[in-house]
């Protein structure tokens, strides 16, 4: 007998005494919890996102227009002395229009090795959804976000959130919007550890600096 049969057999024997219950799952599980905590206007939701991002030590910036954004990104890269930046294939070119030729643009290519990516200073991406109540950015591998590893290896990540369109209030609202089969990364602040006497230290393996730009008129 295969272990598959052994395990399934054990499960069925263990459950033999359980009375059969064919209630469909949706009815077996009343979801009485809230879809969102509290009531907020759109502007308040964006404000809460900004607060919670900052609370977990992401650096938050705001821009009303794309030209402003491209100037901001150029400034952020220059401020860190970044000489190279990873660019996902579908990133709006206008976002990097302000960045000079002295910053090398590195494409997100399947052939790149991890060691090559390790030499890149920064990465700029969009996002799929941002969650206000938890200060979370979710990336889903869309063309403006790229492969998971490009937002992991460089030490500096600039993530642009279109507000208010990409902002949801709560975790349930985010789950509802996301496509489960895509590769998803939920990011809440920069990498951190509390393993040494519970002192929080930012940045163990992921980017140590996470900058979030809220793009839009809200």
């Amino acid at each position: 007998m295969s272990s598959r049969d052994v395990i399934l057999g054990r499960v069925r024997r263990a459950l033999a005494d359980v009375p059969p219950d064919e209630t469909p799952y949706e009815r077996a599980l009343p979801r009485t919890y809230l879809r969102e905590h509290g009531e907020r206007s759109v502007a308040q939701t964006v404000e809460l996102l900004a607060e919670n991002l900052a609370d977990y030590r992401a650096v938050v910036h705001r821009c009303a227009t794309v030209p402003e954004l491209s100037a901001l990104i150029a400034g952020l890269l220059a401020g860190r002395g970044a000489r190279s930046v990873l660019v996902p294939p579908g990133l709006d070119e206008a976002w990097l229009a302000g960045t000079g030729a002295d910053v090398t643009r590195v494409a997100d290519r399947a052939e790149s090795t991890a060691a090559e990516l390790d030499r890149v200073d920064s990465v700029v991406t969009g996002c799929a959804v941002a969650i206000a109540e938890t200060g979370t950015l979710v990336l889903d591998g869309s063309p403006d976000q790229g492969r998971r590893r490009i937002t992991l290896i460089p030490d500096h990540h600039i993530c642009v959130v279109r507000v208010p369109d990409q902002v949801v209030g709560s975790v349930p609202q985010a789950v509802e919007r996301l496509a489960p089969r895509r590769p998803l990364t939920w990011i809440s602040g920069p990498s951190a550890t509390s393993d040494i006497e519970l002192d929080r230290v930012e940045g163990v393996h992921g980017p140590r600096t996470l900058e979030v730009v809220l793009l839009g008129g809200v």
Binding site: L34, R181, T193, S194, H205
Partner: protein
């Protein structure tokens, strides 16, 4: 392995350990209460979490098959392991097939439970732990003592010494003149491990959840070492207990709220990774295409190792709801004093006291004594985000140890003889003596067991029954648990005047 009372007895005399544990558990406990208070529907989320898990467990055969289908359809390969040896064998063979002799690992209780690192080592495969705390434990040739912060028993000075002494032997040495500042220690770990991440071809992980309808696996973490192990290697092997399944994608909205708040007391942990098979873009199953993202080969090893036996127990099965948040450790007066190592298993604290004796059986002295490693105060039940009635299971297991009865071992019903008066009695008596020599522990136990829960009417069961017959049990106090807890600052002041830190 010494029985719990003996190990605990030694641990309570270790003042460094006690100091570290006290600081840690009290800090997390206070933060957790704050994080939980932020969500007004905590009770409803807890109830939903409990029901989701119960429903899954009661239809586990169906959901296991569904997971297998979904993961396979997404390009993964599913393996079934009835016990630890089989799981280790499967993983070792998968690694050998890649031709590699090194793997990087994300912290995972399941792989610790089966002793995977040791099994791989015996096959000439070296497994690098990449979680900072696990690295501290591994370099220190030590054992983890807490589910969430496994190196909680080490302070910064000890960590510095371990890094300075050992890192060079395993790879990139610690920087010259390393001090004990946490930031410097974390930086040393970053540099030491990055070298390994960048060249690793095989990653090994567990998973916090597996979604049956989509075949999606979820890993919740803080440091980013999980992301490294899950996305950079060519081959990813995930060893996952069969109780980790949730039926639907939507169910994650419950646990992604309750787990971070219960464990690290955060609104959300820094990183959560979700992947489905060999995750490419949504509709793309061709891993050579330009959109390929992450490992080309994905293996899911579904692990039983005593879980189906636990499922067969009419009271104890609820332990399988556990999402390993570690909240119950942080509120446990016994854990705080005894430390994680005293439990003699990878699962310490209240959850360990009910899970280990079920996964492993109660034949050994340590496993027979674990159900007594508690004052039945009920604090663990109160904080548990999936409402596991740990005291109820403890009492049930005590009965089983003392009186014997029918249990399921490796799928077959066997009748346990009542422990011939000796082993169990001894375990119980030693546990009792240990508690009685520590008024705080006992007092907590008496007060709390009495008032708040339906456990109340039961006398001390099993060996305790004989024992309580010959002794006066202290009277039931009038003060409810919550009041007591607040007044005494969680038992810290032993029931004296209230006081805050």
């Amino acid at each position: 392995m010494p029985a719990f009372p003996k190990a605990a007895h030694d641990a309570v005399r270790d003042t460094t350990l006690r100091g570290n544990l006290r600081h840690a558990t009290h800090t997390i406990r206070a933060k957790r209460a704050h994080a939980v208070a932020e969500v007004s529907d905590w009770a409803e989320l807890r109830e939903a979490g409990k029901r989701i898990k119960d429903h899954t467990l009661r239809h586990l055969d169906r959901y296991l098959v569904q997971v297998e289908e979904a993961v396979t359809a997404a390009g993964g390969v599913v393996h079934w392991a009835a016990d630890a040896d089989e799981a280790n064998r499967i993983v070792a063979e998968l690694v050998r097939a890649t031709g590699e002799s090194e793997v990087v690992k994300v912290k995972s209780m399941a792989t610790q439970e089966i002793g995977l690192n040791e099994a791989l080592e015996a096959e000439g495969i070296h497994a690098y732990e990449t979680d900072l705390a696990e690295l501290i434990v591994q370099l220190g040739r030590d054992r983890p003592s807490h589910i969430l912060v496994p190196a909680i028993h080490r302070n910064r000075g000890e960590i510095r010494d371990i890094f300075a002494r050992e890192m060079g032997e395993w790879g990139r040495p610690a920087p010259e003149g390393l001090t004990d500042s946490p930031a410097e220690l974390a930086e040393a770990a970053r540099l030491h491990l990055r070298e390994k991440f960048l060249r690793a071809k095989v990653g090994i992980s567990g998973a916090n959840f597996v979604v049956a309808e989509t075949g999606t696996l979820v890993v919740v973490e803080s440091e980013g070492n999980g992301r490294m192990c899950l996305t950079l290697p060519e081959t990813l092997i995930s060893v996952v207990g069969i109780e980790k399944i949730v039926p639907t994608w939507q169910d994650l909205e419950v646990f992604l709220q309750t787990l971070p708040r219960s464990s690290t007391a955060e609104r959300m942990n820094p990183y959560t990774s979700m992947w489905t098979g060999t995750t490419n873009s949504e509709s793309d199953s061709d891993s050579d295409s330009d959109s390929a993202d992450g490992p080309k080969n994905f293996h899911l090893v579904l692990l039983d190792n005593g879980r189906t036996d636990t499922l067969a127990d009419e009271v104890g099965w609820q332990a399988l709801r556990c999402i390993r948040c570690s909240a119950c450790l942080n509120v446990c007066p016994v854990y705080e004093r005894a430390g994680g190592h005293a439990y003699g298993s990878v699962y310490p604290g209240p959850i360990g006291a009910i899970l280990s004796p079920q996964l492993r059986g109660t034949e050994s002295e340590i496993d027979a004594s674990l159900p007594y490693a508690s004052s039945l105060c009920g604090a663990c039940y109160e904080v548990c985000p999936v409402a596991i009635d740990i005291p109820e299971v403890l009492v049930h297991l005590r009965e089983r140890v003392a009186q014997g009865g029918t249990v399921t071992r490796e799928g077959a019903k066997v009748v346990l003889k009542p422990a011939k008066g000796h082993a169990a009695e001894r375990a119980a008596m030693r546990a009792a003596r240990w508690a009685f020599s520590r008024p705080g522990v006992l007092r907590a136990g008496q007060r709390l067991a009495s008032r708040t829960r339906r456990l109340h009417p039961r006398t001390l069961p099993g060996p305790g029954r004989a024992w309580s017959g010959s002794r006066d049990l202290p009277p039931v106090p009038a003060e409810p648990f919550r009041d007591w807890w607040q007044r005494t600052n969680g038992g810290k002041t032993d029931g004296g005047k209230g006081g805050a830190e």
